[in-house]
Amino acid sequence: MTNGAKQRKGQDLIRLVEQSSLKPEPPQFEIGDTVDVHTKILEGDKERIQIFSGVVIARSGAGAKEMFVVRRIVAGEGVERKFPVHSPRIDKVVVTRSAVVRRAKLYYLRDRVGKAVRLKERRK
């Protein structure tokens, strides 16, 4: 019993530590959204924005450790990139399209090719 209370206190301390790493306004998007992820890239000493666009197929973790996975098809080959939600290197995430999805992880898209990859659009 007392152990449980201690554990909760530990989690509170972890949250406290993570506070400094969290973005005040984390990017808003949902599973199935097609997004443009603007990442800052350092080339030499010049900073440049690179855009990776694709479908958000998964979100995992919590707090400063939260990550999301974006999948897109490049030259017929599936490419997935995993980003930390709160990374300072992510400038912004722009939602270009939303889709009707019924699960939290869209891993079934990995088994699909061609037209089957498309998701039904959700109108707001």
Partner: protein, 229 residues
Amino acid sequence: MTKGMLGRKVGMTQIFNEAGEAIPVTVLEVGPCVVLQVRTPDRDGYEAVQLGFADKPRRLARRSERGHVAKLNSKRSRSRTAAGVELLPKAGCEPKRFVREIRGSAGDAQIGQELNVAVFEGVAAVDVASVSKGRGFSGVMRRHNFSGQRASHGVKKVHRHGGSTGNNTFPARTWKGKRMAGQLGRENVTIRNISVVRIDSENNLLMIRGGVPGPNGGYVVVRETNKVG
């Protein structure tokens, strides 16, 4: 005094540095610690500071534990005082759950003095000692990374065994130190030269890069690293 403290492992997380890189950190709750005793070469033959961390409820503490941290009105103390013996000074605090000595020069440490994580201000790297997670009696594959034997081709019921433990006529015994199954974990482990990422004096938190042995909530001894270069 030598920079050392007692604390508790809170858990792990990651924080982003200025470059935007995610740094894996272990959060330690370090201190407040109370100096319970100061060892001197004259009396004890060595120099050290004895620290105590985390209050122990009085109902759980033995009388000897209470007498260690505060003056008790006992028959022995009365008779000793009556005999003119000066009793050792006490810290005058609550009994502590975790008591350890930090070896090295005691410096200006006073009995009863309270220390907090601020002692590590300006320290670049620390050594962390704690008791690793116990895995019980484990076989050689898990304990010593043996390969075991094949799954088929005539191997019978010895797939995870270590094989032979020695030779025949010479030496006609098993060499000492032969790696075999046994207790794995729950031993003292020290991780040296862990860099300090951040110090939060307000909440007595010390953030260090990478992991430390033991479960969350386990007690740790943190010292300034003695590793050179």
